[in-house]
Symmetry: C2
Subunit: 330 residues, 2 copies
Amino acid sequence: MIKRTKGVTISQVADAAGVARSSVSRAFTRPDMLSPETVTRIMKAAEALGYVPNHTARALSTGRHGNVGLIVPDIANPFFPPLIQAAQLEADRSDFCIFLGNTEENPKQEDKLVGRFAGQVEGLVLASSRLSDERIRAHAGQLPLVLINRDIDGIPRVLIDSGSGVREAVEHLAQFGHRRIVYVSGPSNSWSNKQRRTAIKAAATRLGIVVETVPAVLASYNSGRNAVSAILATGATAAVAFDDLTAQGVLAGLSEKRVSVPGDFSLIGCDDVLGAVTYPALTSVSNRSTEAGRVAVSLLLDMLQSRAIRDVRYVLETHLVVRNTTTTAR
Amino acid sequence: MIKRTKGVTISQVADAAGVARSSVSRAFTRPDMLSPETVTRIMKAAEALGYVPNHTARALSTGRHGNVGLIVPDIANPFFPPLIQAAQLEADRSDFCIFLGNTEENPKQEDKLVGRFAGQVEGLVLASSRLSDERIRAHAGQLPLVLINRDIDGIPRVLIDSGSGVREAVEHLAQFGHRRIVYVSGPSNSWSNKQRRTAIKAAATRLGIVVETVPAVLASYNSGRNAVSAILATGATAAVAFDDLTAQGVLAGLSEKRVSVPGDFSLIGCDDVLGAVTYPALTSVSNRSTEAGRVAVSLLLDMLQSRAIRDVRYVLETHLVVRNTTTTAR
DNA sequence: GACTTCCATGCAACCGGTTGCATGTCAAGT
DNA sequence: ACTTGACATGCAACCGGTTGCATGGAAGTC
């Protein structure tokens, strides 16, 4: 049977070392203020007792928790894990901890999480937030906030410009002679979705190509698969999907309907999260989620240190990664 | 420019409502102790000032943080997101928050995270921990701990018994006439890896089948792919991989080498995280990670409430899910 | 040897809540 | 009318640290 040791406090260490509580505190936070002998004596006593500073108490008196929150809509979406990892790594470099929240694409849950985190983190990164501008502004009034893939004036933000990559995608299809294409859209309250749709329309118009939009509701394999009938009904010869997951679903749906890719139909994903693991390997718009995670946290820590709110707008460009799901129009 | 509002404290609310601080506190935590009129008066004042209780201060005096930690080795591994989601959902039902940590498969990082979390959570779930038994025991002495896929006496644990499914996998291959198979192993410090290897050997021995082990170092697409030459060199006609990701890598490697699956070679994954999205759809051992996450958190919350440490050993059975990567031995 | 300086350390207030106990009030019981 | 008790509220200590200021002793200066 394992038994729990109750916490050793600073007072016990102080008694053991024969000093005041304040000295123990200083031994840990500002050892330069104490004589070296006192520090070692305190440290020895602390070690012997197994003392470990109480994070909560420290946070209460200093107002510094040493953690930042990161909220994402869906951990299961392969777009986010690299972003999370990079954020964690960057936070780690400054001895900060990341608290991760998953909202299941649900604004109410997101709101709740932000409120819940607010008291225990020094700042927050909201990735692909599904909240309204108003709610985000309100939260930004409470604590330092950095946004990823959400463009709101006055709030520091890191934007992955899939526009550049999507433009290349449309040009790529145009070169292959496609004249009628489909955009398989994602979540309607997603900033990226809006951005991609806009970029596709603009590029297509410029090149004299017709674009139709087929909604896939969620960014997922199944909604992509379910969208296939609608896609084929448009008579298009190629599609660009909101993301790789959706594209993968479309790929599966097409194969079920005996539509060969790229022979009969060309397909392009977005975010390049699947690499070459689909069959055939998916042509996709590159992803900068790792940089986005890193930059967002770095920006946030910067704000915390300088206690200033900057109106930063950091844009990361993307490009088309050509693989095997695109070819000449039938 | 957004400006930050500094926190409203309980004293300000007390002054505004003309009551003592303790009454404000009670209005929020035990309103039944106060007269209804006082409660509404306090609530009105709190509302007007925009008061929100300070989580840290509360945690300091009550010792209850209202969060539990969840530490996983690799968020990017599709085995974990469903587990994380389920854990979060279960925690939510009791108004607990999940703090997620990612260790990048690194025991040192894991140790650090546990220490870091220890002060801010009431309990911890370690999923597929890469720590030594000693370290885990040491941590269990500090705070309530529940393990997933790690079997240590005296510490509550939830185990996904892939043994049952793996046994079915071997029997399935035996029925198809395979006499020589390979186990593509995973991380050496993974409990699941050990469990699976043992189960395969046992089942194979019983059925008179030869098993060779080829290591894939990490549980990943690339290590699976890189293991292919070694796999083929054994002369085996089928393989069981540590997990689906590894299997997917093997699948890709085989296809590169023009070895057709299942025609020339049969392949079985583990954890069934890819569903039917590979091509051909992967036969795999089912996964109970959702239940594992839910049960682990529920167990932990239970421990927190009853302040007792139970020696629970919760086992979840698995089964073979047959798809299209297995057939008669060549 | 007296006076200033500086450094190491202690004292006590503070962070923002919670909670056991004391106090005061009012209504019911006898 | 006096006791009793229930109930609403306030007081003050406490959770475990941090930090501005006071203090005392040793070293430095003339």
